[in-house]
Subunit: 109 residues, 2 copies
DNA sequence: AGTCTTTATCGTAATATTGCAATATTAAGT
DNA sequence: ACTTAATATTGCAATATTACGATAAAGACT
């Protein structure tokens, strides 16, 4: 085995898991945090910022993009990557929802 | 290679990535969502709820516990697993923080 | 056209994850 | 002590992820 059995779970569960999984790596957290504080978002700057080789960073960016967490814009020679605000909001709402429901519940442990 | 280079990132980045990663699997999302809506949280019920074999579920529970997302309480013969509210809140705050900062910024893409 | 710069892709090695059958462990009930 | 029930651990096969060197692709510049 080794492959996740996605077909046994709901669309929603798979979809949210995919987004969350994309952020489940320190390099990708670092990328998002960098994009958050910077005004122009050039790929090359990200490569310089991270302690990883250029192909590795490129791969991480691809995964973030694939999960819908960032968007890429061709800017002449370079590429400008930005956080997709809506995706982050989706995650925020997901956790806010869980938190709210937990507060209405008495936890047994 | 194949191993994440955690030593090149900050403690915070590694720590949040670890929590997020633990949720980045539909089975573990399903477990958390199940624990959220149910009043007693017996391991056996989770096994029955999920479309996975008992050892697999046990492993997922272990990962969630290891990441601090759930707590386990021995309840006689069975084990009661509950969501750790504080962990979820931490995640909620993390995403709320990003969202808030993004709103103060003009995104270029 | 040739060159430089920037980013992506390919190929591959190392490691991690997923999933399960078999087995072990632990506590309860008899 | 024996048996049953619930959960964990072990061992292993299949697959995925991470990382990077080498190379390709695409646009800018001369």
């Amino acid at each position: 085995m080794g492959a996740t059995k996605t077909d046994h779970f709901t669309e929603k569960q798979n979809s949210i898991a995919k987004m969350i999984k994309a952020l489940g790596h320190p390099a990708r957290i670092a990328i998002v945090e960098y994009l958050m504080k910077v005004d122009d978002c050039i790929c090359g700057d990200i490569v310089n910022e991270l302690p990883l080789a250029q192909p590795t960073v490129s791969q991480h960016l691809k995964e973030l993009k694939n999960a819908g967490l960032i968007k890429g814009n061709v800017e002449g020679n370079a590429i400008c990557y930005c956080i997709d605000e809506k995706a982050i909001e989706k995650l925020q709402h997901y956790f806010t929802g869980i938190s709210a429901k937990l507060k209405l519940k008495k936890n047994c442990c």
